[in-house]
Symmetry: D2
Subunit: 377 residues, 4 copies
């Protein structure tokens, strides 16, 4: 069995999630490759060393350039702040590494496009960390839709709302600067719901008309609460959308949506039924079938179980629950099998780029107050 | 105590609801006027007589013109098919009657405007049957918002989705013809959520950009299933909206939304909290307050009770439940007190007209694929 | 059509509910008799007169004995405090009146038995106000069970929990005295869940072993908060039960169950499925069918609608909601049709007596710490 | 840092869960010891070798006696069928090993007692796999109770219902034989809810009166569906309970409870509030506080997050979800820290024995139809 040597760049919130997933994936799945946690990069050697110990990596560096050029690294796993994704990925690709990048792929669609082209030309494989589509429950949703159980899709409503910046006294951070984050809630959160929209509807978003607002226009400096600093990107955004197959839809996203801790939700309406889901109850899916006897119609709450995609890896009994990190373990499975056995890897940079275009089209349409074709981006 | 003599025109679905409400209102509320069920009009004398007996009206006629001119009628209560609202209302107003009309006020905003002007010139009082804002639970929502408990409103999401036309084999009916219904789901259902949006946000919708679709383009003739007849108005519609006070929002409506039996829902997000509601659980309101201790945050499910507006009229114990007809009883209370004691009556024709303008603006914006100011209508 | 002349004794909480139901029933249902609100009794003439006006009764008295002997009264409707039920009922029966009594039928099973015998001997008809079994949703539950849709019932779990005495500082009231209320939470609340248990399982409870507790042993006097008065009956009670058909079950009841405003709930488990319900969401029923495809199993939330028993009387559209008073209107329909057309009336005094026996058996078993046969009572 | 060498016996359902937890624990927690997956035993060498590879163990054997006597094993982790727990544990203890056993500790309380005594005498540390009390959400419940936030506990209702044997055509398996499983649903499922009852109420169950039933008295042979074999233990059981501190409660358990996939639920009622939980939504806890303003009372749904015990190890954002295996990882953390640093380990054999006594007391009380003191066992 092929050994896949991982080079991890960045060990914050999401880097740690990757580490957890690397640790559990081999026990969960019959992987087609052997994971070797080879190299880890952080901003200074001490932190790199500490994280390498914690995460079980063999070597550590304070220079990601060393990592991406290291002959003993097969995959570069990018968990840095967003603004670094592009530079690291391009450099890794240049050295023939496969690249596994966290979302968003880049700060702009143009940057994402360059990354797609570079990867294609270099013939490396790519994967982007839109992990919510790896949830067995959302995989089940897709299966139900593809089976035609809810008929033809006629409407998609999706949100990704959270409240991490709801308090106006929360000091400004990197999320609020264009140079660090690009878009605001669109880039940080809405990227996920666009990913799910594509995945579930099975068609790309083709045109959009959005609206957006920076509700809290300035925030305290983290260093001096009395000093106020301007927020550069949007707190909330909504968009009407049309998919290429004609399906209507609506997307909403907010980082100031009080009470939403993981408000990634979708309602997919078809000609014969409806699916409803919220990530805050990530192990259940509500399914309504209009052909049920009229006196026995209703939304059925399906608890995800071993009959459904990828759940059995976690537990042989239904309803026992899956957690956030389990999604990432599925993603790692796809990464390893994709590289070791050339299995398809999805969502790749191409899909990451498509998502960026949709998000930028929404922002553009909001600024220009008109419908925008995604192809304009 | 003044006696208020009611003339009811139309005894179908909603006319019967009015009759139920007239019957129970005097026991529920200490009304400021005495209800006299004076006169009832239907399309033929036999039906009129039968319904007068069932509903407890003293006299019956097959000619609504007789009713609206009858000196012994104080209020004309219009429960006919929508396309007749205008003609009957104008005639009633001409004869100095107060008018209580079911929604939508008219098939077009222009028609609604004529009705508003006529009523103003005649100095009669008006009320439109947007009964969902009379629900104690939604009254509580407004109270919470007006108290500032959720801070300043920053977002409104509302839907009115049902599935009465979800099955493509359901024969065509009056809802589907422009001449009978005007708009499709916008006129029939979305009118309610616009009414709630205005009521809760406390500001009028100022501009909109909508999208809409006739998903099931033709339906079987009710007389011959093999014959297909063209559906003339929209099955589903969505709109981004901006209120006059700058608040962002989204409205959605569908009559083919599988599984939604009474899918009137709203989520009102403020700077300090959020309210969430669905009419399918009309006796409960979910309230989240961001200032709660971080480890004790969450949506609280409040069961409506005697501490809340108008509930005590129905029951002295909380959580015992209120039903659809109870809302109408509150509306009848407002009608009687409005006419007997000149209490304010809301929503009046002016508000009905405003709602029509919003709906037409949505339709226009969908056709012209651009943002439309409600003032353009 | 026969006229049924009502004599109402007592106009408090539940008396007012009866009045609301009398007012709306004729519009809701095609009754087989005409309701005449003939006579009303209260503790003094002024109150009696006022309530007669409010409720629409023709005459009023401060002496219930006048009412029960009045030749112009067909049905005596007893809404007094519980300790008066027996005396009034026996007197009414003696004068050949039909009797419609609120629950509990009497303070003791022995008293209830006397009432049953008296009514049988006099040949009058009786009805007891266990209104929750009149809810269309619970009627639907019974229909599903009787159809065999959940197979054979194997377990019944039911509660009636409320929190009206949860606060230890709430002053003592009539509920807490044996002479006024008889049992505590068993008599006041559990009576309802026993009624539902019989109704749904279709078999009588045969033996019980209960446990009970007076958690708050004394309460402030209503006249002097510093003075503490002993609570004479139980705050919470639970019982294992066996039905005559062998089905196992558990009942729980509490009047100090924080957060339960209308905590009447049941879970009926069968060999092929399960029903789950809470009165706090009185318009929905959850149904699980084990024969569903394993990957599509789940509890389905059915919103009650016109396909279900008695709902169409309230609304022709599903999911529009029914309220507390609507149940009472169904009960009044049964009363009027029972007396006017000799339709069966259920639950009658016989059933009221059976329920009292179960409750007393639970209390006895708790005191004697042993299983008690209901037939011992 | 001390190295803790694990010897795992049994690799079925729960053994695999242990393996997953061993794999991820070091990345999740700053453990006080280093886990070394040393030795694994299965019923034949081929299976043992395969599982050792899958789970990452260094050595494998087909003879658990070799494992428990191996000088290079510190902890014996017992994941075998229940009937082997005792023998393996006693042998391990005899060789001075610490023992980590899955629940139930043994088939009988008497056996469990022997194990407790042996461990005490040998001075080894013990842990039993009642993993549900390791869930951050249930830890939060305990914290809320211990803080006095819901006042003094007055009632505990708990269930562990599943439906794995609901279908009467499911062939008989080891669960149904006394010699293999001991008690039926009591041993398999109710053990968990007893564990939670003790953990949350903070007092031991002192006396019980139970009822139980074998509903499906015989089942098809797995080898020949036409042949029916007698089921030897109970399908469903319920019990009234009293804790040592006087608190009343009720426990229910069933393995034929249609629709319950992970029906471990509890409602803990206090004098000032109530907690409600179901394992099927393992990341949320409902909290009601009676001292809230009367018009703002309600159950609040708290999504578990980094403010709560042990959640931050999994994710730094609230509401992102935890899964079944995450509980086991917390348990493994406790195991490693308990052995490496002598941190307290709970629940130990002593607690496992207490739980067995409660279960046996329930069975005995059901057979003898009387209240049984747990101390009688």
């Amino acid at each position: 069995m092929k050994t896949i040597k991982i080079g991890l760049v960045g060990t914050g919130y999401i880097g740690r999630c990757h580490a957890i997933a690397y640790a559990q994936a081999p026990t969960l799945f019959p992987l087609k490759g052997k994971i070797q946690l080879e190299y880890l990069a952080e901003i200074n050697q001490a932190l790199a060393d500490q994280k390498a110990r914690e995460f079980g990596f063999q070597r550590a560096t304070d220079d990601w350039r060393k990592l991406v050029t290291d002959p003993n690294v097969d995959v570069v796993d990018i968990c840095t702040p967003n603004f670094l994704h592009k530079e690291i990925a391009l450099e890794a690709i240049k050295h023939g590494k496969h690249v596994y990048s966290e979302k968003p792929l880049a700060l702009t669609a143009q940057d994402a496009k360059e990354m797609v082209i570079a990867a294609q030309q270099a013939g490396v494989k790519t994967l982007v960390g839109f992990n919510y589509i790896k949830n067995p429950t959302t995989q089940l949703a897709r299966q139900i839709i593809q089976n035609g159980e809810i008929g033809e899709v006629v409407h998609f409503y999706g949100t990704h709302n959270e409240d991490y910046l709801a308090n106006p006294n929360t000091p400004i951070d990197w999320h609020c600067y264009k140079a660090k984050a690009g878009l605001g809630t669109l880039g940080d959160l809405a990227a996920h719901i666009v990913s799910i929209a594509h995945y579930l509807v099975g068609s790309d978003i083709e045109r959009v008309i959005g609206d957006m607002q920076t509700v809290i226009e300035e925030r305290p400096s983290p260093h001096n609460p009395a000093e106020k600093i301007k927020v550069e990107n949007e707190d909330q955004a909504s968009s009407l959308i049309r998919f290429a197959n004609g399906v209507m839809g609506t997307l909403e996203s907010s980082r100031i949506s009080c009470g939403r801790k993981m408000g990634l939700t979708y309602v997919v309406t078809g000609t014969k039924g409806t699916l409803s889901y919220t990530q805050e109850r990530m192990a259940e899916l509500k399914l309504y079938l209009h052909d049920d006897d009229k006196s026995r119609q209703g939304f059925k709450t399906i608890l995800v179980g071993p009959e459904h995609p990828d759940y059995a890896a976690f537990c042989v009994s239904a309803g026992h629950g899956i957690g956030f990190n389990d999604q990432k373990a599925v993603e790692i499975r796809d990464l390893i099998n994709g590289i070791a056995a050339d299995d398809p890897m999805y969502p790749d940079f191409e899909e990451g780029y498509k998502i960026s275009r949709v998000l930028e089209a929404i922002a553009k349409s909001a600024e220009e107050k008109r419908w925008v074709e995604v192809s304009e981006i």
